[in-house]
Every structure is written in structure tokens, then in C-alpha cells.
């Protein structure tokens, strides 16, 4: 799989490249600033890119803007954003095109290499990956809402894992239950929240996130 990496700190850039290569990804270009990223995304149209939100020359959200611009040109261009901190605002902007193939994670998550590589693969496959911090703060916002209060603790757990973009299989593995049980929980959740059910993992994630971001 062809990957573009954008990270301005050499130490972290090399670390990312090393991890990605160890898992069989081909890093076609690694850049350290916003304009180079924009160009690299245009020329390579990578299968997935791993991009730091903050990049030179402005050291603001240059990486985020470059990624959003590129996705406006090439809808669904898979991008996984990494950041030293997460903001609801940015999650919302990234997801606003509803095209999927997008992820937003804290940089710390890279240290759990297996999870990180899984996230990169899910984004490359058109999935949505959301950092647990973002999901937790989204859920906190809806704490007192009637439909959400109707969920059982188990269903809430499934809901937050779903919002993080995990597949039924992954949720089942993590909660030590069968996939069938997860699917039952998820049906209940969709019924209680009044959402239209979908068998397709990615559509389900998008529906849940859209509900929570409303």
C-alpha cells in the first residue's frame, strides 16, 4: 500500500516511516511542511496518508487544511490525521464531507503499534477512525439526552467503540463477547436512538458520529 507521511519533527517522521515499513507499507514520500504535503497528495494520490495537523511554515493547522483541500479535489482520498491534541471542531470539519476514509487520532495512539496499523488499514479501506478522546467528549455532551439515557451500560460501551470506528468483529473481540451479541446491542442502540439500521460497518459509524455531532 502506498503511503504519504507528513510530519515536521524528524524524530517522529522517522519513527512513523519505520513502523509503516515494518508492516509492509510503501512510504512513497515523507514531507515536513504544508505546501509539500499538498503537492505530494496531488501527485501520488496515495492509498492512505498519515498527516500531522500542525505543520510549517505557519505552525498552525496547515496539515489539516491541506488534507481537507485535497479531499475536496479527490473525494474520499484516505487521510489519517495525527495530532498532539484533539479538537471536536477539527473532527467535525474532517467528517463534514461524509465521504469516509478519514481518521483523527492523538499522536500517543501510535505507541500502541498494532492498534495504529489497524487504524491506518481501516482508513485506507474507506472506514472512519475517531480518537476515543473525541468520542468521550461527544458522549459527555449527550449525557443528559433522553435517548442516550435509555441505553444500558453495555450498549453505551458498544456505542462508543462504534463511534471510534471499530467493526463488529473488533468490538466483539474487545468486549469478550460474540459478534452476534454485538450485533444485537447495535440493533438496540439504533432502535433507541431512532437511527436507520445499516449492515455496512462504515455507514453505521458515520450514522452514529453524525448523531453525536448534531
Amino acid at each position: 500500500m502506498r503511503v504519504v507521511v507528513a510530519e515536521d519533527l524528524a524524530l517522529l517522521r522517522d519513527g512513523l516511516i519505520r513502523i509503516l515499513q515494518a508492516y509492509g507499507f510503501e512510504v512513497v514520500e515523507a514531507v515536513d511542511n504544508g505546501p509539500s504535503l499538498a503537492r505530494a497528495l496531488r501527485t501520488h494520490r496515495p492509498d492512505v496518508s498519515v498527516v500531522d495537523v500542525r505543520l510549517p511554515p505557519t505552525f498552525t493547522d496547515e496539515g489539516l487544511r491541506a488534507a481537507i483541500d485535497a479531499r475536496a479535489r479527490f473525494p474520499g482520498l484516505p487521510v489519517l490525521m495525527l495530532s498532539q491534541y484533539v479538537e471536536q471542531l477539527y473532527a467535525r470539519e474532517l467528517m463534514s464531507d461524509r465521504a469516509g476514509a478519514v481518521g483523527y487520532l492523538l499522536k500517543d495512539r501510535v505507541s500502541d503499534v498494532g492498534q495504529f496499523i489497524d487504524a491506518v488499514r481501516r482508513v485506507a479501506a474507506g472506514g472512519t477512525v475517531m480518537d476515543p478522546d473525541v468520542v468521550a467528549s461527544l458522549l459527555a455532551r449527550h449525557e443528559d439526552d433522553e435517548p442516550l439515557r435509555a441505553l444500558t451500560p453495555r450498549e453505551r460501551e458498544v456505542l462508543s467503540l462504534m463511534a471510534e470506528g471499530r467493526t463488529n468483529a473488533a468490538i466483539a473481540a474487545r468486549m469478550f463477547v460474540t459478534e452476534k451479541a454485538v450485533s444485537k446491542h447495535s440493533n438496540n442502540i439504533f432502535a433507541k436512538l431512532g437511527l436507520r439500521r445499516s449492515e455496512e460497518d462504515n455507514r453505521r459509524v458515520l450514522a452514529v458520529l453524525a448523531y453525536l455531532q448534531a
Partner: protein
């Protein structure tokens, strides 16, 4: 409004007139009443002048300290009444310029009073007013009284015994009958017209005398301003120092300790690598958790120093992000045409964040609205107004550890103010105002 926070100086500013000026007869009749009061007041001024001078004279002879202080209090009260009057009639308040009188024995208090230039200006004003009062207030009153007197001359002529009103201007004019006394009526009318025309200018003149002697001099105004600036600077320096101490402590107990333990775990893992690969796996997992925790702590610390989103998106975006991250539904309305100076943006951001945290934590609000507006005052100076309102249970104040006092201190470095309107039971409005220019 509970006004500015205690200990936080509020910049002196000109407040618009509290009432609309009225015209016509009503205002003149009211002034007529005042002219009588002020006329008597100028007699009192003379009495106070004598009292004060005598008492102060006694001080020189080693007695009369309490009397002097008492007389000072009386003079200041008296002058304050006149300031209020002049402020009311000119539509521009006259501030009192006195230095604060300290606690302490009579002698130190008297020392401050005698060193205060305002004391001597009061004294000067008493002397001036006891003379000019007769011409301004007295003049107006006399003209109106004379007008009425001559207007009613025939009546007075008829009702009084013979000889009393026969010679209005000494022996040169002699009025023979009631009919003849009607020649005085036009004079009465003329005097009343003169009163009508001159009442307002004379009152203005009186107010001008009061203002020019009792208002703070430029020097006094600057002295107050310097005291305010010194106080707010001291607070700024203090709060910065304690902020740095907090950061140092957080680093020391947090990230530094985590990195030290990370080093230990890795060192141990290195030692055990050959003998016990299983234990090494555990140590490495521990090490990874340590880095995660250290990163979380550093992230929180960085956010507290300067929120990254503020650097990325400016005040508008940062407030939006703050609202989105807030557990309580929050609406944002920002009307700022452009960017503000970085220091102002940061202060405004933290002020909003604190007010927001209060609304969530203490007021248990269900809905919060944030409003930021940049306006220009009449003088052309820019001002950022911030309103954070919630529907919570109210009762917010500067004390009770709500952090709003800290906000007031922080904003005072920019001459900013904080006002809280939060009756028990809610709702709460926290209004903040920061003078600033667009950058």
C-alpha cells in the same frame, strides 16, 4: 451588577448624563428652588470656611485636632453635595479627588488631609463660593423675587398702609394711587423675562465654578491612574509568578516523573532481556503506558499555557472549539472583524473558558450562550465586550472560589473589567469588557 471585583481598579471613565435635560419653565422653576438652596449654602460655605480655618489655626497651637478632622469631613460632605449638583446639571459627573484617609492616630490622618491638595482646593472653593454664590445663585433668586415683587406692585400698594410702597426708587419717584402703581408691572415682567433667560446660564456658571475648583486636577487624575496601574501590574506579576510555579510543579510531579520511571523500566528491561523475555514484555508495556500518561499531562499543561486551537484559528475558532468541547449545549456568536492582539485573545479565551467552567460546575446550567462583540466607543477607542450567560441556578460571585476573581485580575492587566449579574436561582450573566485595538 455587583460592580468590579474587590481590589481590581476600574478605569475612570466619563459616564453619560443620567437624565435627559429638560427645557422650558419646569427646569427654571427647579433651578429657582436650587438657587435658594445654593444661596443658603454659600452662607454655610462661609461658616465652614471660618470653622475650618479656626480649627486649623488651633492645630498650630497644639489643640483642635479632632475638630479639624470633623470640619474636614463636613467640608468634604458639603463639597460632595455640590459636586453631585454640578454633575447633574452639566450632565458630566464631577469626581472627588481626595486621597484615601488611612487608619491610624489623629495626627497621621491630619497629616494626609493637610498634604492632600484637594483639601486646599476645597478651602479655596469655600472662599470663592461664599462670594460667587451670592452672584450666581443669589443673583438668580433675587432677579426672580424682584420680578414677582414688581409684578404684584399694585396689589402690595393697595394692601399695605399708606406711605410704605409710595416711593419705589427713593424720593425721586412718587406714586400717588393704585392706578399709578401699575407702571411698575412692566418692570416686574422685564425682570421675570431676565430671570427666565439668565437662570440656566447662571446655574451653568455656578456649576463651572464648582467643577473648576472641586473636580480632580489633571495631576490628581494621573495620580489615581498611576495607583491603578501599579496595583494591576503588581497583580499581573504576582499571578504570572504563581502560574510559573504551578507549571514547574506540574512538570516536576508529572511528565518529569513519568520519564524518569520510563527510563527505569527500559533500563530494567535491558538487564532482563537475556534471562526473562516475559518480564521484559511486561516492562515494555508499562513503559508505553508511562509515555502515554506523560503525553496526556504535557498536553493538558500546553493547553493551559496557550491553547493550540487559539494559535490555529484565532479567538473565533478557539471559542467555537471551546463550545463544541463543552458538555452543556453552548451557542456562540462572535462579531469581531479581524484579529485582536495575541495577549488580548489569550486573556479573552481564558476568561470565557473560566466563565464556561463555572456555568457547568457551579450553576449546573442546561444552556449557555457566549457572545463576543468588538465595538468602537464614541471616542474611537476599541472595546471587546464578552457576555457569557447561562440558565443555571445563579448565585455566582467573586468570592467562593469560582475563579472569576482570577479572571478579573487577569483582565485588569488590560484595563478590562468583569461584572456579574447572578441572582440566586439564576440566570447568570457574566459580562467582561476589554479595551483593545484590532491588530
Amino acid at each position: 451588577m455587583t460592580g468590579p471585583a474587590p481590589g481590581v481598579p476600574r478605569p475612570s471613565g466619563r459616564v453619560p448624563a443620567g437624565r435627559a435635560p429638560r427645557a422650558g419653565l419646569a427646569v427654571r422653576l427647579e433651578l429657582l428652588g436650587w438657587s435658594l438652596v445654593l444661596l443658603m449654602a454659600s452662607a454655610v460655605a462661609f461658616a465652614l470656611l471660618l470653622l475650618w480655618s479656626t480649627a486649623a489655626g488651633l492645630v498650630l497651637m497644639g489643640a483642635g485636632l479632632p475638630v479639624t478632622l470633623l470640619a474636614t469631613v463636613a467640608v468634604r460632605w458639603f463639597a460632595d453635595r455640590h459636586r453631585a449638583w454640578a454633575g447633574r446639571w452639566t450632565g458630566e459627573p464631577v469626581a472627588a479627588p481626595y486621597l484615601p484617609i488611612p487608619e491610624g492616630n489623629w495626627l497621621t490622618r491630619l497629616g494626609v488631609v493637610l498634604r492632600d491638595p484637594a483639601t486646599w482646593r476645597d478651602w479655596l472653593w469655600l472662599a470663592v463660593d461664599s462670594v460667587t454664590g451670592w452672584f450666581t445663585a443669589g443673583g438668580s433668586f433675587l432677579i426672580s423675587a424682584a420680578g414677582v415683587f414688581y409684578l404684584l406692585y399694585p396689589l402690595e400698594f393697595a394692601l399695605t398702609p399708606a406711605q410704605v410702597f409710595r416711593t419705589p426708587f427713593g424720593p425721586y419717584v412718587h406714586l400717588g394711587s393704585v392706578g399709578a402703581s401699575f407702571v411698575m408691572v412692566p418692570l416686574g415682567l422685564a425682570l421675570l423675562v431676565l430671570w427666565y433667560v439668565s437662570a440656566v446660564p447662571l446655574a451653568r456658571l455656578n456649576a463651572w465654578v464648582i467643577r473648576s475648583l472641586l473636580a480632580p486636577t489633571e495631576q490628581a487624575r494621573l495620580r489615581v491612574r498611576v495607583a491603578q496601574l501599579a496595583a494591576s501590574r503588581a497583580e499581573t506579576v504576582d499571578s504570572q509568578a504563581s502560574e510559573l510555579r504551578r507549571i514547574e510543579r506540574d512538570l516536576h510531579d508529572g511528565a518529569q516523573a513519568r520519564l524518569a520511571s520510563l527510563g527505569m523500566s527500559l533500563g530494567l528491561a535491558e538487564q532482563l532481556l537475556a534471562q526473562d523475555p516475559r518480564a521484559v514484555a511486561g516492562l515494555l508495556a508499562e513503559a508505553r503506558e508511562s509515555t502515554s500518561a506523560a503525553l496526556t499531562e504535557l498536553r493538558d499543561l500546553a493547553r493551559g499555557i496557550h491553547p493550540p486551537v487559539l494559535a490555529d484559528r484565532g479567538l473565533d475558532g478557539a471559542i467555537q472549539a471551546l463550545a463544541l468541547g463543552n458538555p452543556v449545549p453552548t451557542t456562540v456568536d462572535v462579531r469581531v472583524p479581524g484579529r485582536l492582539p495575541a495577549a488580548v485573545e489569550s486573556a479573552a479565551y481564558f476568561a470565557v473558558a473560566e466563565a464556561l467552567a463555572n456555568a457547568v460546575k457551579h450553576a449546573h446550567a442546561r444552556r449557555i450562550a457566549i457572545r463576543l462583540e468588538y465595538e468602537r466607543t464614541a471616542g474611537g477607542a476599541g472595546r471587546l465586550s464578552i457576555l457569557v450567560s447561562d440558565d443555571g441556578r445563579g448565585g455566582a460571585s467573586f468570592d467562593g472560589g469560582t475563579g472569576l476573581l482570577g479572571v478579573a485580575r487577569r483582565l485588569s492587566a488590560f484595563d478590562g473589567t468583569v461584572g456579574i449579574d447572578s441572582p440566586a436561582g439564576g440566570p447568570t450573566d457574566v459580562r467582561m469588557s476589554l479595551p483593545c485595538e484590532l491588530s
